[in-house]
Symmetry: C2
Subunit: 395 residues, 2 copies
């Protein structure tokens, strides 16, 4: 029998093609200025420190690190997190599970909670990687409208009341893709609504430490009384994404279910990368490192915003207080996908905003990343974009 008679699982029926992947292939071309991805800058990756720490931990704890570990996490990291989370995030950590990047946290949550047809409320637009994850679990996505200060809580309440969703997925701080931040009052309200209607909130917060202006806000999790909020943290943006170390904090019963699920997902996260993150924190390297990369990213963000000021009339854009992204609305009628084709010819890549909407549309939007490019690259890339937008607006 030929293999082409093989039938794949139905859950794949819900997963669309990979326009994004095509873009990422293009990024890899030499000479391309990429304001498309969400990569840290190379300067932000602490390779010298990691080399020293890796050698040290393998010398001192090599047998433990190379042996099977516990699904529950590498013990020294768990101990570190027990005090680090209250100190830096401002809420207690009744249960913490280190995961293989916070990508895995989302997968485990869906696996633990989502039956086919269950509804998940998602910001509109939202991080497309996790939208894809939810689709693989055959969740029905319910978009909640987005405002300047984050999701519309009145709309959210109507959805909670009328649609009885299982979960809300939100990125409250310097959101991907818009760069927007959920206000303090709305954070409190989201926690209240979750408790009132019995909806799990997946609070995905990988960018919170990358703040360039304004005051730090408490997490939604800090307003959570009954355990409906699960906090997803990550070291990808502040230490290294290639190490794949994130964590989830939540109710012990729910974390336990996710731990059991993790047993058959990858048994445990690599001990070595957990140990490197642990030592990075224990050696006190993180605060200075965050200050240094934040200063660089702030300059990159400001440069990109400065370039946008000279774009033609009729476009608007977000002014993020941190994170990696900003969001541009072009005049109606301009299709960012067409713009991208022309931009790629001129060696500049970005991501059309339509891909971040659960049900598409919004063709006149785009996401720009300022973390992965140098200041001259940003200026050069934005010059190309400005010319293309001007051409398109005049056409």
């Amino acid at each position: 029998m030929r293999l082409d008679s093989l039938q794949y699982a139905r859950r794949f029926d819900h997963v669309s093609g990979s326009a994004i992947r095509e873009i990422f292939k293009v990024i890899a071309q030499p000479g391309m200025i990429s304001i498309a991805g969400g990569n840290p800058s190379l300067a932000a990756l602490p390779d010298a420190e990691a080399a020293e720490i890796a050698r040290d931990v393998l010398r001192d704890q090599g047998k433990v690190i190379l042996q099977y570990g516990a699904t529950e996490g590498y013990r020294p990291l768990l101990e570190t997190m027990q005090s680090w989370i209250p100190e830096t995030l401002g809420f207690d950590a009744p249960a913490v599970l280190p995961v293989t990047g916070s990508t895995q946290a989302m997968d485990l949550l869906c696996k633990a909670l989502i039956n086919p047809g269950d509804r998940i409320v998602v910001e509109n637009p939202s991080f497309l990687g996790n939208l894809q994850c939810m689709r693989l679990y055959e969740a029905e996505l319910v978009p909640v409208e987005s405002e300047e200060d984050g999701l519309d809580v009145n709309h959210l309440e109507r959805i909670f009341r009328d649609c009885r969703p299982k979960m809300l997925y939100t990125i409250p701080t310097f959101q991907n893709p818009t760069g927007r931040t959920l206000s303090l009052a709305k954070r409190r309200r989201v926690a209240e609504l979750a408790e009132e209607y019995g909806v799990i909130v997946a609070e995905d917060d990988p960018y919170r430490d990358l703040r360039y202006r304004g005051e730090s806000l408490p997490a939604i999790k800090s307003f959570d009384r009954e355990g409906w909020v699960v906090y997803l943290g990550s070291f990808s943006k502040i230490i290294s994404p290639g190490m794949r170390v994130g964590y989830m904090v939540g109710d012990p019963g729910l974390i336990r279910k996710c731990t059991i699920r993790k047993q058959s997902s990858d048994l445990h996260t690599a001990n070595l990368t957990q140990a490197i993150v642990d030592q990075f924190i224990r050696r006190g390297l993180l605060p200075d490192h965050i200050r240094r990369i934040s200063a660089d990213y702030a300059a990159q963000c400001d440069t990109m915003l400065g370039c946008l000021e000279s774009f033609p009339e009729g476009i608007s854009f977000t002014r993020p207080e941190g994170g990696l992204f900003l969001w541009v609305d072009l005049p109606e009628g301009i299709d960012a996908k067409d713009l991208l084709k022309k931009a790629i010819e001129r060696k500049v890549a970005f991501v059309p905003g339509t891909h971040f909407y659960a049900f598409g549309g919004h063709e006149n939007t785009l996401r720009l990343n300022f973390s992965a490019s140098t200041l001259p690259q940003i200026t050069q890339g934005m010059d190309v974009l400005r010319n293309l937008v001007t051409e398109a607006a005049e056409a």
Copy 2:
């Protein structure tokens, strides 16, 4: 609303409690002789080499290793595998996907292929971790009988014909839990049947390099003409389980589906652990390392077999040619779970065989591990077991 009103996904309904986890908590007690797990010996873990390699790769390729990687795998490792697989495994590698331990390979295969109610044929007994994974995907498990030279291929054909399964899961070499090896003729036959009936074969082969006697056998995959066989390999038993690096080899279309699934499972396997495995191979360290640990394990295996010779009449056991485990049948009427309770009081732990059967039963069987204990520990632990078995047989 209180969190105890939260409903978990139905897929958890199929997952039983964790008798095994209770055993593993016991193992952690100080002074316990564990012949229960499947850990490599501490002497087999190359901590000095890993420390040096980790520092080197982070110095030389630190920015690449700490940055986001491709879901498809760390490029240098992929290049290495392209020649290493044909040379050491004896079959071509049309597509290879590095995974976060071969645990993840099983998860990705189920995710790609299994709809609720789909049938998976499993050896009886089989590796319980992967049985749990299949249950989470709501597969219906169909046990195929096990013989001295591996699964019963006539029984397998009847199952293929009558039950129309989606997949066969088999550990052909030094099987977990029995230590048995599928004969050459049967390997060829399994590949033929898979093609004839259109059934995916998941060939889980983590122990193949740990051979202490007899001739190495070609993988089932080497008889595969149409791509129905997916080979699951692992570096857990020959370099380090704590690094979580395995791989899957198969048809490019199927590997592609698994790659897409992996995007939302953990995005990619940590670059650092992939790079360490890559350098371990490139530096030519693997053959000597395998020879050294195999010599140790062979002695441990022989010691355990020697102890079993002096057990009372009426017990039988496998004589594995490699791997980490052997399997004991006690006289009918003796329950290995009762034996375990008494053994734990005397500071010895093993795993009752019943847990490895998809539908339980076989209470008079047990799995013993010889890799994680020293020769004196094996002798001491087996003395305890012998006394308990003798007592039980006389009762």
